[in-house]
């Protein structure tokens, strides 16, 4: 075992730290080289967290040096057992210093939003709901990452605009979107109710129901979707289409 002779050299070095000691330096270097594989192995395990592998190997090697300088032979543990937590600790500290624990939730949130946008886009292109593989290709993110973003992205306090915020037993449920204010409805500007009634004639039955529930009963898209047993996205599309139709008719 390399350590038996090194620990003597290290004792010698510790006793007189300022003296040149080529034998000590050489043995220390040999130990480092002998364990670089361990550093590389451990660094690789953290390589999917967005930092270059070379940097991880470098900070891991710093951890290895610390472990070599602190390891006590007579403690009765294998050097690997001792060195691994030190190396891993150094790598983890590096991520902490980089603000990684803040960036990851943000990245997941952003990915979560990107997934929603991409699935709407792909749904239109494909005429069906996309698979995770298709989303992963479209976004250039891993499948696991996408599933995680969908799951964890919500855990980080992302509230849908359609989430209900009033629970006072009022029959009209309020959503976050309602509190933001309706800039897009265009309906407030309508004064002539007769005009509106005429315009409604151009809507299909389902569109009429959605517009009625959404703007006269102030019911969320999500809730409408549940009532009509369709997806919220579908409600959103129908609503947009219906509003376009209404605008077109009213402009005439």
């Amino acid at each position: 075992m390399l350590f038996a002779s090194f620990s003597k050299a290290r004792q010698r070095h510790d006793a007189a730290p300022d003296r040149q000691d080529p034998a000590y330096e050489r043995e220390r270097n040999e130990l480092v080289v002998a364990h670089l594989n361990l550093v590389r192995f451990l660094a690789l395990k953290f390589a999917n967290r967005g930092e270059p592998l070379d940097d991880l190997v470098q900070v891991g090697t710093v951890g290895l040096l610390k472990a070599i300088d602190r390891f006590e032979l007579d403690r009765g543990v294998e050097f690997t057992t001792y060195a691994t937590p030190t190396i891993v600790g150094e790598i983890k500290r590096y991520f902490r210093d980089k603000g990684w624990a803040v960036k990851v939730p943000r990245r997941l949130q952003e990915l979560n939003l990107a997934v929603n946008r991409a699935s709407e886009k792909l749904a239109v292109q494909l005429g069906r709901s996309p698979t995770v593989v298709e989303l992963s290709q479209d976004l250039g993110a891993g499948e696991e990452e996408i599933l995680e973003a969908q799951e964890l992205g919500q855990a980080y306090n992302l509230l849908s605009l359609d989430s209900e915020i009033s629970s006072d037993g009022d029959r009209r449920s309020q959503t976050l979107a309602d509190t933001v204010g309706m800039t897009d409805s265009g309906l407030e500007t309508l004064e002539d109710r007769a005009n509106l009634e005429r315009a409604f004639a151009v809507l299909s039955g389902r569109e009429r129901v959605i517009i009625y529930l959404r703007f006269f009963e102030s019911i969320s898209q999500t809730e409408i979707a549940q009532r009509l047993n369709v997806s919220q996205m579908h409600v959103s599309r129908l609503q947009a289409k219906a509003l376009d139709k209404l605008r077109a008719v009213l402009k005439e």
Partner: protein
């Protein structure tokens, strides 16, 4: 029998059974990360747990058997995960690091697991196979 990782009573249990094949490892990572997230572990701790479970699974797959059970037990003070293997029992301890190669990599994983989790134990099972039992403590 080894010491249990925690003496706290188990409150909730989530079990997952996967084929002992590499392509199913990410399923287990996802499931375990969801459990850890529910128990309010931080992002860093969740990553640690995922990495530890993935290492346990890889070394488990290397030892054969057709399936692996992953049993997540929610305790008052943390998360205990059993990776139950039905192949050749683990011989985790002595390896020569100076000659790390592909075959040693799965044993090295055990060192990594020890570095990431608070306690790691082995339970040999009378019915055959073994449990790798790891525990991650929730921050107080």
């Amino acid at each position: 029998m080894n010491q249990p990782a925690s003496r706290e009573a188990v409150t909730d249990v989530v079990e997952l059974r996967i084929p002992a094949k590499a392509e199913w490892v990410s399923i287990a990572r996802l499931a375990v990360s969801a459990v850890a997230s529910r128990l309010q572990f931080s992002i860093e701790e969740i990553e640690d747990v995922k990495l530890a479970v993935a290492e346990a699974l890889v070394s488990s797959i290397a030892r054969g058997g057709s399936r692996i059970d992953i049993i997540c037990e929610s305790l008052a003070d943390g998360l205990r995960i059993r990776v139950r293997n039905f192949g050749v029992p683990e011989q985790p301890e002595v390896i020569d690091v100076a000659s790390v190669d592909e075959s040693a990599a799965s044993s090295l994983g055990v060192f990594l697991i020890r570095a990431l989790m608070d306690t790691v134990d082995y339970d040999a099972r009378a019915e055959g196979g073994s449990d790798l039992v790891m525990f991650k403590r929730l921050p107080a």
